[in-house]
Symmetry: C2
Subunit: 156 residues, 2 copies
């Protein structure tokens, strides 16, 4: 496995892959091309045999000079147990620290139990929301009506 | 009219407004909450009588230290002839210059003739694409399949 920085041209490969990796669920609207143009140093690609098997899109907060944000992580379904996600997050933590960031933020849907447990294993804490759902604190309507989110923060 | 920096809490007001301002066309998915959290110094709100009548979401490119990017601009339909857009762009140009950026980039759909003409009036050039549509150079499939775009660049 090889990790490298994201390039603008990765968009054409990743865009059709994403909906496929999510079993047909429409996800590619979360990944506009602008993310592939303007956040390359904080976004990463994992390749195996010259094929993309994972990626992470993140950036440095421009509002808060001490925060970094992970927007989207995708891993090829056949490589879900191979630590691809962990490697991507570790790369991001490293570049965030190099840029003097002391916290990383990200979020997931309350239904995504695998993601919640992954983030907890990676050392993220859940940010207290207004409501508890199945034992997890949730920010209701965070990303619009009925778009509830679990918010994570990790100190670096 | 008053212009101020965007705040995270503006999301709750703007999210439902956007689809309304576009006559029911679904636009709010282009404005996830993260944009309201992490790009506040380069994003602006125009208010009239304490009501939001326009906004601009932009950021500094993190890949290219000399570029800035305007992602989304919305103006209340009843204020479309009142220079709200121009004021927002001028504010953005100013903050981009302060941050040592020498070009601003943005894009629109080829069908959006009003937007194309607005950008040309604001001093943007059209970036050469592979195809010409109705006299305008277009980047086909730029934001995914059938998502053609006209790309703009302005030197500051």
């Amino acid at each position: 496995m090889k990790i490298r920085a994201l390039q603008s041209s990765d968009y054409e490969i990743i865009n059709p892959l994403v909906d496929e990796w999510w079993g047909g669920r429409k996800m590619s609207h979360l990944l506009p091309k602008l993310l592939f143009n303007h956040f390359n140093q904080t976004s990463f690609i994992v390749e195996q045999d010259n094929e993309i098997i994972g990626f992470l899109i993140g950036f440095l907060s421009q509002t808060f000079s001490d925060k970094a944000y992970i927007h989207f992580v995708g891993v090829h379904p056949e490589y879900r147990k191979c630590n691809v996600g962990k490697q991507l997050y570790d790369c991001f933590f490293e570049i965030a620290i190099k840029n003097n960031r002391n916290t990383v933020h990200c979020l997931t849907s309350p239904v995504n139990k695998t993601s919640i447990s992954f983030h907890q294993k990676m050392g993220f804490d859940i940010e207290e929301g207004g409501v508890e759902m199945e034992g997890v604190s949730v920010h209701t309507d965070y990303d619009g009506p009925d778009q509830h989110r679990v918010l994570f923060v990790k100190k670096l």
